[in-house]
């Protein structure tokens, strides 16, 4: 409609254009985006670095068919008390879980140190646990699968993840188990026909009652009569008879349904709720001591620089092979620990040349040496660990892996204050002026 030529038409055209743009934006944002992986990067760095340290994690297969099994296994160390963040609850009650986009796998078994982990358990700080989860392919696709530990009052702490492809057809999926009453059932479809049958029976009953009333005049005429004080006349003898039938029918059907179920399934248990007790792995004596003197995070260089004092109490010379934090592995290429497990480790979490030492010579038995260590890789950014400097507690955590001349591994925790450096050179304490850092 135009009252004035030109002016109003321009306004309407502009409004129309704006409406079209807004509609397009609304449609575009309403189209669901596919969220495939790496949601763990949204978790604060201090949680990932200072709580559960995942290591030796492997996925036995990268491709399985529907109904085929794959095992995800490894170890985790619960950070010691001195490194555990104050803002997160300790694992007094926790559950070994898997992070996956729904039941694209079914979990057939879950063990920690040989104990069945269908229930939850408590875990001791500073101790190690070996875990193993068996998954069975259920839904075809390429899925990112992480280990995970849910901790009560702290939330999920996600381990490393890797892609596993499931091939085949979901219609072929079978998940049979034998009950203690001797029946073999398929868990994927068990009880569904009976569920739907009873829901339909009750729904038909309920809808019939509703339709009885919906067939009559509903609001206006009834309202007028109620307002005039003639509401009692709206309830007829037929209505009362129908109500009696409905009352008796509902009571009777409830009774019949209960008795029928009791006769058909006489042996039933209540839901099982229990808490397991899991003994940690035996403690290995800590023969390589690490004392953190200073740690800085150089933002422009994406590197964590540590000054350490390392004491070798083993009987053999040791070298630092790896720094592991928040599932990212920084390897020292000069130590050469790219074994088969490391080669299969997810590439986005593996900085295979990421660990550099100012002095790479072996630390001799009985020697105490001050060493400068740099863990540098783009993973600090891609894994969103660099935002640690904005966390409520500017501390980091991780583990060092030392190797002696026999290849024996010595694991030692490290953690402490992390000072950010926002410039290329950064402020350096006087005693480090002659060092590389």
């Amino acid at each position: 409609m135009t009252t004035f030529q030109g002016g109003s038409v321009k306004i309407w055209t502009k409004k129309l254009q704006l409406l079209i743009v807004l509609t397009g934006v609304a449609i575009a944002s309403a189209v669901p985006q596919v969220a495939q992986a790496h949601g763990e990067r949204a978790q604060e760095p201090f949680l990932r670095m200072r709580t559960i340290q995942w290591y030796d994690v492997e996925w036995t297969k990268s491709k399985v068919a529907v109904n085929e099994e794959v095992v995800v296994k490894g170890k985790f160390r619960v950070s010691p008390d001195e490194n555990w963040p104050r803002t997160a609850a300790k694992p007094d009650l926790a559950f070994l879980n898997i992070s996956s986009p729904g039941p694209v796998f079914v979990r057939k078994a879950s063990f920690i140190n040989g104990v069945n982990m269908a229930n939850s358990s408590s875990f001791q700080t500073g101790r190690d646990y070996a875990w193993e989860v068996t998954l069975k392919g259920r839904y075809p696709g390429k899925w990112h699968i992480h280990s995970m530990l849910n901790i009560k009052d702290a939330g999920p702490l996600v381990g490393p993840g890797d892609w596993i492809e499931v091939t085949g057809n979901h219609a072929d999926f079978k998940n049979e188990v034998k009950t203690l009453t001797g029946e073999t059932i398929d868990l994927n479809t068990y009880g569904m026909a009976n569920n739907i049958r009873w829901h339909i029976i009750w729904a038909v009953f309920g809808v019939a009652w509703l339709l009885y009333w919906l067939a009559k005049p509903l609001f206006f005429s009834r309202y007028r009569k109620v307002a005039a004080g003639e509401g009692a006349s709206l309830i007829t003898k037929t209505d009362q008879t129908v109500a009696v039938v409905v009352l008796v029918g509902a009571l009777g059907l409830t009774y019949f349904g209960y008795q029928w179920a009791e006769a058909k399934w006489p042996i039933t248990l209540p839901l099982q709720s229990a808490q397991e007790t899991v003994a940690p792995l035996p403690t290995e004596p800590t023969l390589v001591d690490v004392k953190l003197i200073r740690a800085t995070y150089r933002v422009p260089g994406r590197s964590l620089n540590m000054t350490l004092e390392v004491t070798n109490n083993t009987g053999k010379a040791v070298r630092m092979g790896e720094f592991n934090t928040a599932t990212v592995r920084f390897l020292n290429p000069e130590v050469g620990i790219m074994d088969e497990m490391a080669k299969k480790y997810p590439k986005y979490l593996l900085a295979d040349k990421g660990l550099t030492l100012a002095d790479n010579k072996p630390i001799e038995p009985g020697e105490t040496r001050k060493i400068e260590v740099e863990a540098q890789d783009a993973a600090w950014e891609t894994e969103r660990l660099s935002s640690l400097i904005y966390d409520p507690d500017s501390r980091f955590g991780g583990m060092f892996f030392f190797y002696d001349t026999d290849g024996k591994r010595h694991i030692q925790n490290v953690g402490g204050v992390l000072v950010p450096s926002f410039t290329g050179k950064g402020g350096k304490p006087k005693d480090l002026e002659n060092t590389r850092y």
Partner: protein, 251 residues
């Protein structure tokens, strides 16, 4: 609504009656949308997990929390439909719309999109108690009697009316040396990243008897609480259906 303080209350022309009847279906559509959406939201925010997962349907929390929080809308709709229109089907309408919403969301969303098996996410049925409440309201014409008998039966009969489909999920199995029910096993096997096992609030508390049958004790307590909740929400229904007019000239 027309004023009806006349001797000819209820007498209107056939034309007006036809238009009124057509308009009623518009009102029905609006009521369906509002009740379905709000009741489903209310249910999921309160008793959600207990009614959602088969491994949360225990003998203590599920038969207590669920009926107590579902009888709410039944009471409110009872007031609105009975007091103004002498229509007794408020409870059945409420639970029917709730179940419609629950099935749509679970079938298309949780099953169709996220691939959860239907037997893990089957909702409870509430029709037994709702039909009983509706019929008692009509026969007694009293909200007090309906609360005392109808609402308490809604709570008491919730567990037995659902046992017909739930019983097979409580058959025992042994898995890797552990005794579980089929429901526990279905819950364990179908990975739920945000639902660790310890978060299940089941089989805790002191609603127990010496006979190992917690369900009857819970049912009795649920019946008692449902009566109270029904009466409270009868008045919430009144609050939401009372119209006050501003007198002409008052402004």
């Amino acid at each position: 609504m027309m004023s009806s303080n006349t001797a000819t209350a209820g007498v209107v022309s056939p034309e007006a009656e036809r238009v009124g009847r057509a308009l009623e279906w518009v009102i029905v559509a609006a009521v369906v949308l509002v009740v379905t959406g709000s009741f489903h939201l209310h249910a999921m925010l309160t008793m959600g997990d207990w009614d959602f997962w088969v491994d949360w349907k225990d003998r203590e929390y599920w038969p207590l929390v669920t009926p107590v929080l579902i009888v709410t809308y039944c009471g409110a709709l009872h007031y609105i439909l009975w007091e103004h229109f002498r229509l007794p089907f408020g409870a059945t309408l409420a639970v029917g719309l709730l179940l419609l919403a629950e099935w749509l969301v679970r079938y298309f969303g949780w099953h169709g999109w996220s691939h959860y098996p239907i037997n893990l996410i089957t909702p409870a049925t509430f029709f037994a108690g709702a039909l009983i409440m509706d019929s008692i309201l009509l026969l007694s014409r009293s909200w007090i009697v309906t609360g005392l008998f109808g609402a308490s039966l809604f709570g008491i009969l919730f567990f037995p009316s659902n046992w017909s489909w739930l019983a097979p999920f409580h058959v025992p199995v042994e898995v890797n040396g552990l005794v579980m029910t089929v429901a526990d096993l279905i819950g364990f096997e179908n990975i739920r990243t945000g639902t660790p096992e310890y978060i299940r609030i089941i089989e805790r508390g002191t609603l127990r008897t010496f006979g190992q049958h917690s369900a009857p004790v819970t049912a009795a307590f649920a019946g008692f609480l449902c009566t109270l909740m029904y009466w409270v929400w009868w008045y919430i229904g009144k609050l939401f259906s009372t119209v006050k007019y501003i007198k002409r000239g008052a402004l």
